[in-house]
């Protein structure tokens, strides 16, 4: 068996983190978490996760957006897939970010609460695809 993939969750809602951590660990992922942007970036630099889950509305309302831009500036994390999570939108609202919106360089946006099946399949896809086949983080495109 190969080395388990690692996922970093950056979210200030400890209940949400615990639920997602349980889900990902039950599918064999190694999960770490940080409850704010600063710790999250530091941890990301240290552990170089295979994927990051990032909340956009942490205590500093738009903190997640800045975290994401900061992450993209760090060479070692430039290609790391990032899923942005938010409860601003609900599941039946079509969460669509302009594919040209380079200001939000995420690979995928998902609404909170996230469907376990959907999350697992997206995490699997993004951690197994080679970087050049993924939807480009530079343009923050959502694969539909």
């Amino acid at each position: 068996m190969s080395e388990p993939k690692s996922v970093l969750i950056i979210d200030d809602d400890s209940d949400f983190v615990k639920a997602i951590q349980t889900l990902l660990e039950s599918s064999g992922y190694k999960v770490r978490s940080a409850s704010n942007g600063r710790d999250g970036i530091q941890l990301a630099k240290n552990v170089q996760p295979d994927l990051m889950l990032l909340d956009v509305m942490m205590s500093e309302r738009t903190e997640g957006f800045f975290v994401l831009q900061e992450i993209r500036r760090i060479h070692a994390l430039h290609q790391t897939p990032v899923i942005v999570l938010s409860s601003i939108y609900s599941e039946d609202t079509v969460f669509r970010v302009d594919p040209q919106a380079g200001w939000l360089p995420a690979n995928l946006f998902l609404a909170k609460p996230v469907d376990p099946t959907r999350l697992l399949s997206e995490v699997k896809r993004l951690t197994s695809e080679p970087a050049d086949q993924r939807s480009s983080p530079a343009v923050g495109r959502e694969k539909l």
Binding site: M57, I88, D92, V94, P113
Partner: protein
């Protein structure tokens, strides 16, 4: 916006009168009462200075050579709708006073007047100005509070619900096999109720945004065909939609519709959501888009349970939901169609419905094409 700037400006009275004696006496009387006074012998000079200083109060003589008082009022009103204007009239006829009031003057002072009369009228004018400004500040604060409330509070309402639902989702996903059947059932029910509430908060947020005019963008244009196809595609992925057939039929080369992609996605999404929810196993949902003159026509039809005639008039009312044995277990907020109607109205379009109980429903939306000079054709009549 925000803090009130305290300055000499707030104490300033302008006097425009061609009569030097009136100017001088006004200046002396008002200075003594603590006002800052600037006087002008003609309207042009006074108006130029008014643009810079923005005094709260203007006293202007009606009968002047060159620019008369009426013309001064007309120009000043355009520059500053808030300045309180008091007219001085030598011919104390009711007619001239009424005319001046109609043009936006607040009060009038017949010549000759005593210092006491002048002071009283000026004091009243300032009181009026302060009240108007307080009202405006309060209105701004209220709008600010509302804006913050809908964005921040709705997030704070949703976050705990999202966390609770996330626990239940994961619990059911990871422990389904070990849990007793009753636990699975109750967890599922809890999930459904939380989803209902999340949907309600979301819809309510959208309505608040729509009411504030912060959602629809009339100047944007969108490819409604592509939006319809995307929505259909997304709905096909949902497990609950599996027993239905969803199709889309888009006229090739369809023009852009007026409106931004977010509002139009919500519009199409809500209609498709209803067509799916009020359907029957094996039923169909069809979304079609085509053009019709200056309009884009979007149709969402289903082969569902239909809408009873008695419910039809209330379809676009807030929180109105049909309660029949067939529909009572269908989740919904009662706001979906209200949102659709508001979006369509905001964009200058229309929405209609045809339905036959037991056979199905067709919602038809007409939206102006983006390239049509819609303002000419659709705008409200201007003028009297």
């Amino acid at each position: 916006m925000g803090a009130i700037p305290v300055s000499a400006r707030e104490n300033t009275v302008f006097v425009i009168d061609d009569d030097a004696i009136i100017r001088l006496s006004c200046e002396q009387i008002l200075r003594k009462s603590g006002y800052t006074v600037e006087t002008f012998a003609n309207g042009h000079v006074g108006i130029e200075r008014l643009k810079e200083v923005r005094p709260p109060l203007l006293v202007v003589d009606i009968k002047m050579p060159e620019l008369d008082g009426f013309e001064v009022i007309k120009i000043v009103r355009k520059i500053d709708p808030e300045v309180v204007i008091v007219v001085i009239t030598g011919y104390a006829t009711i007619e001239t006073a009424v005319d001046a009031m109609k043009m936006g003057a607040y009060d009038f002072l017949p010549k000759p007047f005593t210092p006491g009369e002048l002071r009283m009228i000026i004091e009243r004018g300032f009181e009026r100005w302060r009240l108007a400004r307080e009202t405006q500040l309060l209105r701004q604060q209220k709008e600010e509070v509302e804006r913050k409330f809908v964005t921040l509070v709705s997030h704070q309402l949703k976050a705990p619900l999202a966390a609770v639902k996330q626990y239940l989702d994961v619990l059911l996903f990871t422990g389904n096999a070990q849990l007793p059947a009753e636990a699975v059932e109750w967890i599922s029910r809890s999930q459904a109720r939380i989803s209902e509430m999340l949907g309600l908060i979301q819809d309510w947020l959208m309505l608040a945004k729509l009411d504030r005019g912060a959602l629809c963008d009339r100047n944007a244009s969108s490819d409604i065909g592509k939006i319809a196809e995307t929505v259909v595609h997304e709905y096909r992925q949902l497990p609950s939609v599996a027993p239905l057939t969803l199709t889309s039929e888009i006229e090739p080369g369809l023009a852009q519709a007026r409106g931004d992609a977010v509002s139009l996605s919500m519009l199409v999404g809500n209609l498709v959501s209803n067509a799916v929810k009020y359907n029957r196993p094996g039923g169909e949902v069809k979304v079609s888009a085509g053009s019709d003159g200056g309009w884009i026509t979007l149709k969402v039809s289903d082969t569902g349970i239909g809408i009873p005639d008695s419910f039809r008039p209330h379809l676009f009312e807030e929180f109105y939901r049909s309660k029949t044995p067939e529909t009572q277990n269908i989740p919904g907020t009662g706001l979906g169609l209200v949102i659709c109607k508001k979006i369509v109205d905001e964009l200058g379009g229309s929405i209609g419905v045809e339905s036959k109980e037991g056979a199905g429903t067709v919602f038809t939306v007409r939206l102006p094409k983006a390239d049509v000079a819609g303002e000419v054709e659709l705008a409200e009549p201007v003028g009297k």
